[in-house]
């Protein structure tokens, strides 16, 4: 189209003729394409014809061009009685630029996460029991969405409640090989992370529904306490 390299010998004659004859359809299509691309607003067929050389048929060129853009990343669309090139509707998501903002996890979320990590597999009721307050759906959803916790097996107790466990993603984020690597209470205390020193001999009471968790963590912790 662009390369009319094989111009006939009698170029002068052709040129003179072309003053009266419309350019080939391929050329007209290019013209419509360029005009629609550069225009600040949709262009009517009438205006296209007005801007193109005499004898052009913008309406026909539009038909060809529309076909050419079918299924492409941009399409030729009709806006009233005018035409414009627009992003294909399915690619609208590309017209967004994401900026990521990092925030600290809320206290409720970090506490819930800590309970899942130390007591997994743990049911929602057990989390509430340990925290002493209800766990909002939003908090659990947030942790699920972050892929730090996931659903574990259902507990084989009446109501078959779902349990939560931490994910590999969680372990990766916190640089742990397994949840068992989490320091136990004694270690936390030694590190000064427990503000209040309970009377000696008093061990933390787990929630009553917490049998599994108790079993699971006891081992992990005693292991840690050995050194």
């Amino acid at each position: 189209m662009a390369d009319d390299t094989d111009m006939p010998q009698d170029a002068a004659e052709t040129e003179e003729k072309s003053l009266f004859e419309a350019p080939p359809m391929g050329e007209q299509e290019r013209m419509v394409e360029a005009i629609l691309f550069a225009s600040a607003e949709p262009v009517t067929v009438k205006e296209l014809n007005g801007r193109m050389p005499h004898g052009c048929d913008a309406a026909e060129a539009l038909v060809h061009l529309r076909k050419r853009y079918e299924g492409r990343g941009v399409n030729l669309v009709r806006v009233g009685d005018a035409w414009a090139i627009r992003t294909a509707p399915d690619l609208g998501f590309l017209m967004q630029k994401e900026t990521v903002e990092t925030r600290k996890l809320s206290r409720a979320a970090i506490e819930t996460l800590a309970i899942v990590a130390y007591h997994q597999p743990v049911t929602r009721a057990e989390i509430e029991e340990i925290r002493g307050v209800a766990v909002s759906r939003g908090t659990v959803d947030q942790l699920l969405e972050m892929e730090w916790i996931r659903f574990g097996r259902r507990r084989m107790t009446p109501g078959r409640p779902v349990t939560f466990v931490v994910t590999q993603e969680f372990l990766d984020h916190f640089g742990l090989e397994s949840a068992r690597d989490l320091p136990g209470l004694k270690e936390l205390r030694a590190a000064g992370l427990l503000d209040n020193r309970p009377p000696p001999g008093v061990m933390p009471q787990m929630g009553e529904g917490d049998q599994d968790a108790e079993e699971e963590t006891a081992e992990g912790q005693s292991e840690l306490f050995e050194d």
Partner: protein, 267 residues
């Protein structure tokens, strides 16, 4: 010395040569961008490749120009005179046999550099013209007329450190450990207690009764105890309504909340 005469003012070589012959060059002195520009114009009158230009001849041309200006009492800018002095010095160096005791660059070296400067300036002018002759944006080719704004979407990611995690856990467990010691249960009326109490009483609540009537005895004098008992009783009422055992009503915001047993017929 002015810096921005119109670009279009570039002189046609031939006409300049003609005017040089007529010494009209001096009238045009303001049109030159300094001595180097003038030298380049003079050099072009030699009608040779700039690389073969005779610097000696050029120096003579320039000095003649300055001489003429003096005769015509035309004020030349200082840098034209500095250049004249330097070219006079260069001319003498080019004409006299080299003195081996003299320090500094030879006349040939100085002349070669001047020739280089002239050639370089001419080359820059040529490529500037070629650059401006290119297709230009907004004149020959065009950008998208209806650009779409890229919407900025803010995504929030949450993060926490291992320390946060451990501190949170410590906080919870510490609270657990101290619960028996710190909780002042004397002044707390729980929902369970309220429920137990109300379950026993609603059987008799056939007519609308203010729920405050269900407060336990001895809990209404101390404000803290009253608040706890009211909250527990209200929560228990809601629970019972949820179970379908009672009905609740309130005529207006902050109006007394009334309760009555739900009859089997309503069920």
């Amino acid at each position: 010395m002015t810096d921005d005469p119109e670009f279009d003012d570039t002189q046609d070589t031939d006409s300049v040569a003609a005017r040089l012959a007529a010494e009209a060059l001096i009238v045009d002195v303001d049109g030159f961008e300094g001595p180097l520009d003038l030298l380049l114009t003079l050099g072009r009158t030699q009608k040779v490749d700039l690389r073969k230009i005779s610097i000696l001849h050029l120096a003579q041309q320039y000095l003649a120009f300055v001489e003429k200006a003096k005769q015509l009492r035309i004020e030349l800018a200082a840098d034209y005179l500095v250049m004249a002095a330097w070219l006079a010095f260069l001319k003498s160096r080019l004409l006299l046999p080299p003195d081996p005791t003299e320090e500094g660059p030879s006349g040939e070296e100085l002349a070669a550099h001047l020739a280089f400067q002239l050639e370089r300036l001419q080359a820059m002018r040529d490529v500037a013209a070629r650059l401006m002759a290119r297709d230009q944006k907004g004149r020959d080719f065009f950008v998208r007329g209806i650009p779409e704004n890229v919407e900025r979407v803010k995504r929030v990611t949450y993060t926490a450190t291992l320390l946060d995690l451990m501190q949170a856990y410590s906080r919870i467990r510490t609270r657990d450990e101290f619960r028996p010691f710190v909780m002042d249960r004397d002044r707390v009326f729980t929902m369970e207690q309220a429920l137990d109490r109300m379950r026993g009483l609603i059987g008799f609540a056939g007519t609308w009764t203010d729920i405050s009537a269900y407060l336990p005895d001895g809990w209404s004098s101390d404000p803290v105890r009253l608040r706890s008992a009211t909250a527990a009783t209200f929560a228990a009422s809601l629970e019972l309504a949820k179970e379908g055992r009672v009905e609740l009503r309130q005529s207006d915001t902050f109006a007394p909340i009334q309760l009555r047993r739900r009859g089997e017929s309503d069920g």
